[in-house]
Structures are given as structure tokens and as C-alpha cells.
């Protein structure tokens, strides 16, 4: 039967021996794992920058007058940069980073389909980020991350930062599109031959759905940015009403991209949740197929709801179809949420930092999703649009959703990537500060928004000061709460506790190789099992009990796969 055994401990230390030199991460590498780490580190750096800008926002809003920034235009620049950086340079690339690292491992491929393209797509990101930040030198963009015309046009935004903004987003869009092509071809062609669609891990499903969205939606952004650049640089008037253009073309095209984009920002996170929750509740994921299909359902529906960002802009009757489709998205999303609750239910929950962030996602995303449905109702949106209610919604889904999932994934996969654990105690401190700070800062925004506080204002009605002080206070806790994470990651990467190949007793393909994986990902060619996960099967029980006796396994599960025995022992933690 087993002819090649992979002894767990020696391999681990061997892998650590051949740790890649740090300099390698700053070079043009074709290894998907190196590129994955490059993405992750770059994205987290931008998280820091975006976060510090958020802190400036909150300091400014401590007082109702223009406060920190004498010049209100600077405030506009700060939140425009904050939104743009968080979305285009943090959340989207960080998921591409996780995908890059783990999709090939999960499908048993040696690399992505187009390694060169992969590296190229990554190396577009740092220059794009620098271009965007260079805006601070030439006059920053101040039209919000949505950059509505005519405000973002040449007449009302002379600053070259707005042009750089468009160029940077153009590069990021191209990078995304290349990444998406790469993911789709990789999953379609490079997976282990025995791995059928329904043997794919849910994270891979989610990445596929995401890639499809990127491929169909992001070119729209590219097209719109092209026209914007024409208007700003070539003297055209495509969006300028003064000369026959139409300012409404921009928001329509932008949201046709950007609503699907919010699912680009959350579907991979949902995929990560489907990986993390079963492992730490020691139960199979509840309703694998439903969750897999709902990703696709969300991807498709996401294309027909863009108008819900323009309920106060569009002609009255054209708002109605968008209202209905937007609300329907609650159904596939609900399938996922309930599936995850079903996964946790009756499990044997282990409260690792990763699991806590995953549960945090569940509890917060539900709120964000429900406020989304409230916003989707046209009459209610007439009150809520353009207020802090929307800011609350978007942070509940983007921070409470995407970022919590990113953190869950980071604690979960850090041992696989570096071969060392993140410190669990610091992780829990991180979680609690984040969770409490998050609720303190973003829950009150719902109220101030409905009550009449518009968003994107540096100066506000003094009657909102109390709520804003509370929010800022929460935001500072939230900001300080991220420090333990950054420190933890930096310290643990060099001196954290050494992790075995399968530290969490997970049963996905990526855990069968060493931590960190060798350059060629795994020895020999992997064979897919008939089910991507299977906690609680008699087989797995036996396995987890350390029972490697083939007869027992055969008796309990029926068909023991020979490779089963080869799996390195998981360090029971």
C-alpha cells in the first residue's frame, strides 16, 4: 500500500531549513506561494495605511467643526483615500493573496496555470499603490471612492491626484482581470484529475465565483476609467453635462462594476469561513452543495442590482426592479449563513483565535446584511442614502464581514504559510479589542445616519457630537486592537511556536503537505478523495483518535484510501 511515507517531524524541520530567504520576497518570483505572500504582505501594509487614515477621520469628527483639518478639502481627500485603499489595495488583493497561496495547494496543482502572468499581476499592485499615494504630493483626489462626475471631472477636481487615482485603479483592475483568468484556468485544468467539481473545497468554489465576477465586471471599471481619463486629460466631455455629456453614465457604469465588486470582496471571505468553521466545530460543513451553489447564485444576482446605489438618482420607476433583485440576494446569502450556523450547531467548538473571528464574522455580517436589505427598500433608502447608515452598513459587511474573515483565515493558515503558529493569546486580545471596538464605533452610526447626519462631511450638526465621540472612541480601540495582530505576525513569523503539517486536524488537501510546503507543493501526485471534507465520519473519528490501523479504518469507513495512513500526524492541540 503506502510506498512513500512522509514522516511528519523531519519534514517540518527540513522545510524550515530551506526557509526562503527574505530577499526572495522582494524579487520577481514565479512561485505561487511566494507571490501569495507578496500579495498578503502588500495588502496588510495598505490596511495599515488605510487604517491610519481612518483614525484621522475619527479624530477630525471628534468635534463638529472642521477640527483636525482646517481645510475641509483635506478631509475629503482622507476619506476618499481611505475607501479606495481599503477596497482596492487591501481587501481585494488580500483575497487574491490567500487564493494564490491556497488554491493550487487545495486542488493539488504544482502552481498556477500562468506563473508569469501571476507575477506580473502582482507587480502591478505596488506601483499602483504608489501612484495613488503620490496623490498627496500633487494634490489628492477628493471625490470619494465612487468619484462621481462632474465632481471628479477636470473642472471641479483640478488636482492631478484624481488622474492618478484613475490610473492606479486602472492598473489594479488589469491586475485583477489577469488574476481571475489565472484562477479560472488553474481550477479548470490543473486540479488533480480525480477531483470533480463537487470534490473542490468551498474556498475554491468561492474563488471561482469571485473570478467569474472579476472577469465580467472589472472590464467595466476599466472602460469607465478610460473614459474618465479621456475627460480629464484629452479634453473630451463624455460626462460633462455643460457640453452635452451625461454625468449619469458614470455612476451607472461604476456601480455595474462596484456592486459585483462588493461580492468580490466578500465571497472569498465566505469561502474561508466554510473552511474554518467545520474544522473548529469538528463537524462537516452543513449543506456543501447549497453553499457552493449559493456562491454562484450571488455572483449571478450581483450583476442585476447595481441601481440600488442610485435610488435617489434614477428615474423613479426604474428603481423598482433593482429593489426586488437586491432583496432577493438575501436568499442565497441566507443559505450560507444558516448553513454555517448549522455547521456550528452540535459541534465541539474549539475557541481558537481563528474560530473566534469566524464566529465574529457570522454575528456581524448578519447585521450588515440585514441593514443591506433595509437599504434595498426604496422608500427607506430615501431616508438612509448618503448618510452614516450607509457607512455603518458598509463597515459591517466589509469590516465585520470581509476583514473578520481575513483575520480568521490569517490565524488558520499562518502555520501552513510560515510553519509557525501565531500566538493564540495575543490573537484573543486582538479579537476582543476588535470586536468591542468595532461594535462601539459602527453600531451608533446607524442611529446618527437615520437621524440626519450625512456621510462625507468634515463639519456636522453639533447635536451629533455625542454619538461621534462614542464612535471615535470605539474606532481608537479598534485601531489599537490591530496592533497586537501586526506585532504577533512579525514576531511569530520568526520565533513563533513551530507548527506541524496539520496543526488543526483539518482534512483538506492543503494540510497533507509540510508546513511550509516545499517548493513543488507536495511529494508525488495527490489523489482527491470523494468528499472534500468529512468531519465526524467514523473514518475521521478513528483517524483523529490516532487510530491508524488499516483494518479498523476499513471496518469503520468501508473503503480506506491507502494514502490515508500517510497523512502526517496532526499535533493535537
Amino acid at each position: 500500500m503506502a510506498t512513500t511515507t512522509v514522516p511528519a517531524v523531519p519534514l517540518t524541520s527540513a522545510a524550515l531549513h530551506q526557509r526562503r530567504q527574505w530577499i526572495k520576497y522582494f524579487t520577481w518570483s514565479l512561485d505561487h506561494k511566494v507571490i501569495g505572500i507578496q500579495y498578503l504582505v502588500t495588502a496588510f501594509t495598505f490596511f495599515l495605511i488605510g487604517g491610519i487614515l481612518a483614525m484621522l477621520i475619527r479624530v477630525n469628527l471628534l468635534t463638529p467643526d472642521s477640527g483636525l483639518f482646517i481645510d475641509t478639502a483635506t478631509y475629503n481627500a482622507v476619506f476618499s483615500m481611505h475607501g479606495t485603499i481599503m477596497i482596492f489595495l487591501f481587501v481585494i488583493p488580500v483575497f487574491v493573496g490567500f487564493g494564490n497561496y491556497f488554491v493550487p495547494l487545495m486542488i493539488g496543482a504544482k502552481d498556477m496555470a500562468f506563473p508569469w502572468l501571476n507575477a506580473f499581476a502582482f507587480w502591478l499592485i505596488p506601483p499602483a499603490g504608489l501612484l495613488l499615494l503620490a496623490g498627496w504630493i500633487v494634490g489628492p483626489p477628493g471625490a470619494g471612492w465612487t468619484a462621481y462626475f462632474p465632481l471628479s471631472g477636470p473642472v471641479y477636481s483640478h488636482a492631478d491626484g484624481q488622474t492618478l487615482w484613475a490610473l492606479a485603479l486602472h492598473l489594479l483592475g488589469i491586475s485583477s482581470i489577469m488574476g481571475a483568468m489565472n484562477f479560472l484556468v488553474t481550477v479548470k485544468n490543473l486540479r488533480v484529475p480525480s477531483m470533480t467539481w463537487f470534490r473542490l473545497p468551498l474556498f475554491v468554489w468561492a474563488m471561482m465565483a469571485t473570478a467569474i465576477i472579476v472577469l465580467l465586471a472589472t472590464p467595466f471599471l476599466s472602460g469607465a476609467l478610460t473614459l474618465m481619463l479621456f475627460d480629464r486629460l484629452a479634453g473630451t466631455n463624455i460626462f460633462n453635462p455643460a457640453t452635452g455629456g451625461d454625468p449619469l453614465l458614470w455612476p451607472n457604469v461604476f456601480w455595474f462594476y462596484s456592486h459585483p465588486a462588493v461580492y468580490i470582496m466578500v465571497l472569498p471571505g465566505m469561502g474561508m469561513l466554510s473552511e474554518v468553521l467545520p474544522v473548529f466545530s469538528r463537524k462537516p460543513v452543513f449543506g456543501y452543495r447549497a453553499i457552493a451553489f449559493s456562491s454562484m447564485g450571488i455572483a449571478v444576482l450581483g450583476f442585476v442590482v447595481w441601481g440600488h446605489h442610485m435610488f435617489t438618482t434614477l428615474a423613479p420607476w426604474t428603481r423598482i426592479p433593482f429593489m426586488v433583485t437586491s432583496m432577493i440576494i438575501a436568499v442565497p446569502t441566507g443559505i450560507k449563513i444558516f448553513g454555517w450556523v448549522g455547521t456550528v450547531w452540535r459541534g465541539k467548538i474549539r475557541f481558537t483565535a481563528s474560530m473566534m473571528f469566524a464566529l465574529g464574522f457570522l454575528s456581524l455580517f448578519v447585521i450588515g446584511g440585514i441593514t443591506g436589505v433595509i437599504l434595498a427598500s426604496v422608500p427607506v433608502d430615501l431616508q438612509a442614502h448618503g448618510t452614516y447608515f450607509v457607512v455603518a452598513h458598509l463597515h459591517f459587511v466589509l469590516f465585520g464581514g470581509s476583514v473578520f474573515a481575513i483575520m480568521a483565515g490569517a490565524y488558520y493558515w499562518f502555520p501552513k504559510i510560515t510553519g509557525r503558529f501565531l500566538n493564540e493569546r495575543l490573537g484573543k486580545v486582538h479579537f476582543w479589542l476588535t470586536y468591542v471596538g468595532f461594535l462601539l464605533s459602527f453600531l451608533p452610526m446607524h442611529i446618527s445616519g437615520l437621524y440626519g447626519m450625512p456621510r462625507r462631511v468634515a463639519v456636522y450638526d453639533p447635536k451629533f457630537q455625542a454619538i461621534n465621540i462614542l464612535t471615535s472612541f470605539g474606532a481608537f480601540i479598534l485601531g489599537i486592537g490591530q496592533l497586537p495582530f501586526f506585532i504577533n505576525a512579525a514576531v511569530s513569523a520568526v520565533s513563533g511556536e513551530v507548527a506541524p503539517p496539520n496543526p488543526w486536524n483539518a482534512l483538506g488537501l492543503e494540510w497533507t503537505t509540510s508546513s511550509p510546503p516545499p517548493e513543488h507543493n507536495c511529494d508525488g501526485d495527490p489523489v482527491a478523495a470523494p468528499d472534500p471534507y468529512g468531519y465526524g465520519t467514523p473514518m475521521a473519528v478513528a483517524y483523529l483518535a490516532g487510530e491508524r490501523n488499516m483494518d479498523v479504518l476499513l471496518a469503520s469507513g468501508g473503503h480506506a484510501a491507502p494514502h490515508f495512513a500517510e497523512q502526517p500526524a496532526g499535533g493535537d492541540r
Binding site: A73, L151, Y156, P284, W317, M323, L382, G386
Partner: protein, 362 residues
């Protein structure tokens, strides 16, 4: 399902429903309702809140219960039961949300359709948004000339249709107490319909990012009796005799431009003589006395002209830069510019230089 479970289920359901109704009935999330549209919208919002609370409690309840009940016992290294799914259950939690959201769509549609209905006796008003002020025009006898106003006065219980336009970028016409919001889109006229039902003063707030002064862009709304409203509109009539003609260096024309809110000066600057009471920018009272010598080697006139054309280079210390629109150079004719400057040059502390300061209280 045995009787005990059924009973528990019923009790939990009743509890959830009560909790939902409680939140729906007692929440104070919305400001005062001052329009006929506000009631149905609030009712819709409260209804959504009932459902939201129930869903929230179900999900968070199940989570909390799991976290407490199903946490790993010390020393227990076994796995949970191998449940991969349950088709019936999955169908239920697909179907119920589907029914809910379709219901919510229908209800929302109903509310919205009622708002869009044409109502008898609708009063049509006109509002123009520009960086960073609103100005309002009222219907009137075509034989008289009416000045634009920087305050929105509305007769109570009369259906209103606002025709909204924008002079520059997108703005959002929003009165929180009316629950009405509609963007002003340059190049087209949009509409908002509502019926004010509560006497009082509110604010029309700009809800669409329109530049650095976006947060400063709000004007007063006054809902008053029909009689008061009529009186107000009459007060806007510009007497025939005082109607100046556009002319080069015509201070009266300059004053007219400011009175009629042509360029939105009144949103920020304060000058009772021209009926403007903005608080954002430097006051214009006795401006002529200060203008000269503000900048070395510039007389009052040059200083004023440059301040209008290049506001960012002439920010008075203590005031925000970038708030004043920087495109007057393109928007303002020389006639208008010179006339306004001439008018401003008349603003000295010594009233004799300025004739009778006919302060008009708004």
C-alpha cells in the same frame, strides 16, 4: 416532534415575535415625522425592523446557544456528529427568506407608488443646488419679479412638487424630517414630492458629496400656515422701481445678484443689506473697510476681484480653504463680477456712504 419540543418552539416563536414588535414599536431611530410621506415610510421601516430583529435574534441566538452549549469540554477530543446537511431544513430556510423579501418588496413598492401619485392642488417649487448652497424659487404672478430665497418656506398640508436642478455638480436635496431625498443632477430636472404636515423649522441638507463644502451645505426649511407663506412670498417681490438692469459697474445690479442668490454667495457670507445670513465664510459687513491693505500692494478693488476669482489664494485666516467655488472665473460674466465688486465696495461701516441700509430680515 413531541409535545414538549412543540411547546418550546411555540414559546420561542412568541418571544421572538414580541421582541421584534417591541423594537419595532419603541425605536426612536427616525427624527420627527413632518410630512405625509413620513408616516408610511416609518411604518415600513418599523415593519422591517420587526423582521430584522427576529432574524437577528434567531441567528445570534443560535450562535450564542452553540457557543455556550457546544463548546468543547476539556479533554474531549472527539468530533461532532457527521451531519452533512438536511434537505428539508435547507429548503425551509431558502423558502422563508424568499417569501419575506418578496413581501417586503411588495410592501415597499406600495409605499413608493403612493408617494409618486399626483395629488390635487400640488404646489410646484423650484430649487437649485450649487456649491455650496440651495436657492429656492416660488411660483408667482408673471407680472412681478420674485427674488430667489435661501430659505425654503412651505405652506402646511399642501402637496409640494420640488423641481430640482443643479448649477455645477451633483447634490442631494434632503429634508430628514420629511424622509425625502432626491439628487440634483446637472443637466436635468429631477423631482421630489411630499406634503409637509407639521409646523416648524427644519433643515434641507445636501446628501451627495459635492466638494469641500459639502458638509456646510444646508439651508433652513420653514413649514408655516398658508397665510404666513403667502406673506413670505410677497416679501420676495422685488419692487419694479428697484429692479436694476444688468450693467457694467452697476452696484444695484450687483446687489440684485446677491439678493436673488444667483451665485450662492449668501450660503456662506453675512450681509443683512443684501438679505444674506451665511455663517461659513467671512462676513461682508463693512467689507470695504477691510479689503484694502489685506494683501500688500493691492487696493480694495483688486483684492475683491482676486478673492472671487482665486478664492484659494485669498483665504482669510481662520476660514477653511477650498470651500468657495473656484470656477467663478468661468461662470461669472465680467458685468456681473464688476457689479458685485462695486456693490461690495459700498459696504463700509459708515452708513452714509451707502445710502439707507435697507436690511431685510428673511
Amino acid at each position: 416532534m413531541n409535545g414538549r419540543t412543540l411547546l418550546r418552539l411555540i414559546l420561542v416563536s412568541i418571544g421572538l415575535l414580541l421582541a421584534g414588535l417591541f423594537v419595532g414599536a419603541t425605536n426612536q431611530f427616525m427624527p420627527t415625522a413632518a410630512s405625509a410621506e413620513a408616516q408610511p415610510i416609518d411604518a415600513l421601516f418599523n415593519f422591517m425592523l420587526v423582521i430584522a430583529t427576529i432574524i437577528f435574534l434567531i441567528v445570534e441566538g443560535a450562535l450564542l446557544y452553540s457557543i455556550i452549549r457546544f463548546r468543547k469540554k476539556p479533554g474531549d477530543e472527539t468530533d461532532g456528529p457527521p451531519i452533512h446537511g438536511n434537505t428539508a431544513l435547507e429548503l425551509v430556510w431558502t423558502a422563508i427568506p424568499a417569501v419575506i423579501v418578496l413581501g417586503l418588496s411588495l410592501y415597499s413598492f406600495q409605499v413608493f407608488a403612493d408617494m409618486q401619485n399626483d395629488k390635487d392642488g400640488t404646489l410646484v417649487l423650484h430649487v437649485k443646488g450649487q456649491q455650496f448652497v440651495w436657492s429656492f424659487d416660488y411660483p408667482h404672478d408673471p407680472n412681478v419679479k420674485l427674488l430667489s430665497s435661501s430659505e425654503l418656506h412651505l405652506p402646511i398640508n399642501v402637496p409640494i412638487r420640488m423641481e430640482i436642478e443643479s448649477a455645477d455638480v451633483m447634490h442631494g436635496f434632503w429634508v430628514p424630517e420629511f424622509r425625502i431625498k432626491q439628487d440634483a443632477v446637472p443637466g436635468r430636472i429631477t423631482e421630489a414630492r411630499f406634503t409637509p404636515t407639521l409646523l416648524g423649522e427644519y433643515n434641507v441638507v445636501c446628501s451627495e458629496l459635492c466638494g469641500s463644502g459639502h458638509g456646510l451645505m444646508h439651508n433652513k426649511v420653514v413649514v408655516q400656515s398658508q397665510a404666513d407663506y403667502d406673506k413670505f412670498v410677497t416679501s420676495l417681490i422685488e419692487p419694479e422701481a428697484q429692479q436694476p438692469a444688468p450693467g457694467e459697474h452697476n452696484a444695484a445690479w450687483g446687489k440684485h445678484l446677491i439678493l436673488s442668490n444667483e451665485y450662492g454667495c449668501g450660503g456662506c457670507h453675512y450681509l443683512p443689506d443684501a438679505g444674506i445670513a451665511g455663517q461659513v465664510g467671512p462676513t461682508w459687513v463693512a467689507l470695504a473697510d477691510r479689503a484694502a491693505g489685506r494683501v500688500a500692494d493691492e487696493d480694495a478693488k483688486t483684492y475683491l476681484v482676486n478673492s472671487i476669482l482665486y478664492p484659494n489664494k485669498y483665504v482669510v485666516s481662520g476660514y477653511p480653504a477650498n470651500v468657495m467655488p473656484q470656477n467663478f472665473g468661468q461662470r461669472m460674466s465680467d458685468t456681473d463680477l464688476n457689479s458685485i465688486v462695486d456693490y461690495l465696495l459700498q459696504q463700509t461701516a459708515n452708513p452714509t456712504a451707502n445710502g439707507t441700509p435697507a436690511a431685510k430680515s428673511p
